[in-house]
Symmetry: C2
Subunit: 222 residues, 2 copies
């Protein structure tokens, strides 16, 4: 039924899909090397020239992927917040007790920061270098994220799983701060392993909220 | 016995003491205005020219007090850490239970950050702009501070006042992070008063550590 002798179209070079994948891989490499350089030297201490030299490519090769250093910073910041926002949104939508939700959110957040330290360090250090318009876009996402977490805390206060000594929003910022601070002091080559670190920071944050009831509920779930 | 007719030495201008005080007051004004400008625009967004214009003085008048913008940043960072270090040292030397010490340290730290937001914001944002030598001097003080707090936590773990789920140093950094993060999000003109904020953040941090025994001990002391 099919004429197997029909000639196949000539292949010129690799298939388009793999070329696209390679291009995307290269683009992601540039993003991650930029984040490492900005973590070490700050936004103002990095130039496209120093980036090209670090990646062993020409400056025009970089312009193939990004128009400016500002664009690169924006992509770093955007990827970082979008990634956390997507994962946290997934976690808080589960039909599980608030204590368990918060535990998962704190573990996720600590893990993400520790695993992607250069991206988060650049985010926290250099986010202020974004243009006003881009900064406003990121601020909207940050607000969304903090309110997702504050809502879990407020729900847990209603069910009696969490203490009511602090405002849910203040608590959410305190817990985020406890995890985020890691980018300023943690040395992954030091005596505390990344796994222990994220588990311990999540534990301190969770203990900061749990009532006896919340703790019992959590222990019965884990 | 004293010849009251002896002529007094002529006063030329104000007494030296009051001139010194005025000079010190002026110097402190410059430090605080610089911190406000750096909080808003970052180290790289502030010039001695913009500072002089903000203070309504000439640039040479500023050079009377400081040799450079770098010197000004160093004084801001130094004053901020020295002040916290001195107060925390006083608190941890008291002969009181660890739970009470940690409560006082957390309240102090939160209060200081909220009261001196421009100084701390400049510290946290722009501390990386210091020269290597100066940065090393500050790092030594930061290490001293974090170990003072970690020691209180370790002692409270030994007496059974604090949970042992996290390393004392990790816990100390988590608690510092929870308070310090305030500089990034808190608006003193918003719905949460500075007093409530520092009390609530200290409560979340303390709850992150306390065992039932520690909580009972603390309640009996307060």
């Amino acid at each position: 039924l099919i004429d197997e002798t029909e000639p196949q179209p000539k292949r010129r070079g690799p298939k388009p899909e793999s070329s696209l994948l390679r291009r995307q891989g290269k683009r992601q490499d540039i993003i991650e090397v930029t984040a490492k350089l900005m973590q070490a030297h700050g936004y103002n201490g990095v130039t496209l020239k120093s980036l090209a030299s670090e990646m062993n490519v020409t400056e025009p090769a970089l312009y193939h992927y990004f128009d400016s250093k500002q664009d690169l910073l924006f992509v770093i910041v955007q990827q970082t917040i979008d990634n956390v926002l997507e994962k946290v949104t997934g976690l808080v939508q589960q039909a599980i007790p608030s204590a368990l939700k918060l535990q998962q959110v704190l573990l996720l957040f600590s893990n993400q920061i520790i695993e992607q330290m250069p991206m988060f360090a650049t985010y926290f250090q250099d986010r202020g270098e974004l243009s006003q318009e881009r900064s406003a876009e990121i601020r909207t996402k940050e607000r969304h994220l903090i309110h997702l977490i504050a809502d879990v805390i407020a729900q847990g206060m209603e069910t009696g799983e969490f203490r009511k000594e602090a405002d849910p929003l203040v608590t959410a910022f305190a817990l985020i701060g406890a995890s985020a601070w890691v980018y300023r002091w943690y040395d992954p080559a030091g005596r505390i392993s990344p796994e222990d670190l994220s588990r311990q920071i999540a534990a301190v944050g969770l203990n900061g909220c749990l009532t006896d009831k919340g703790r019992e509920l959590l222990e019965s779930q884990n």
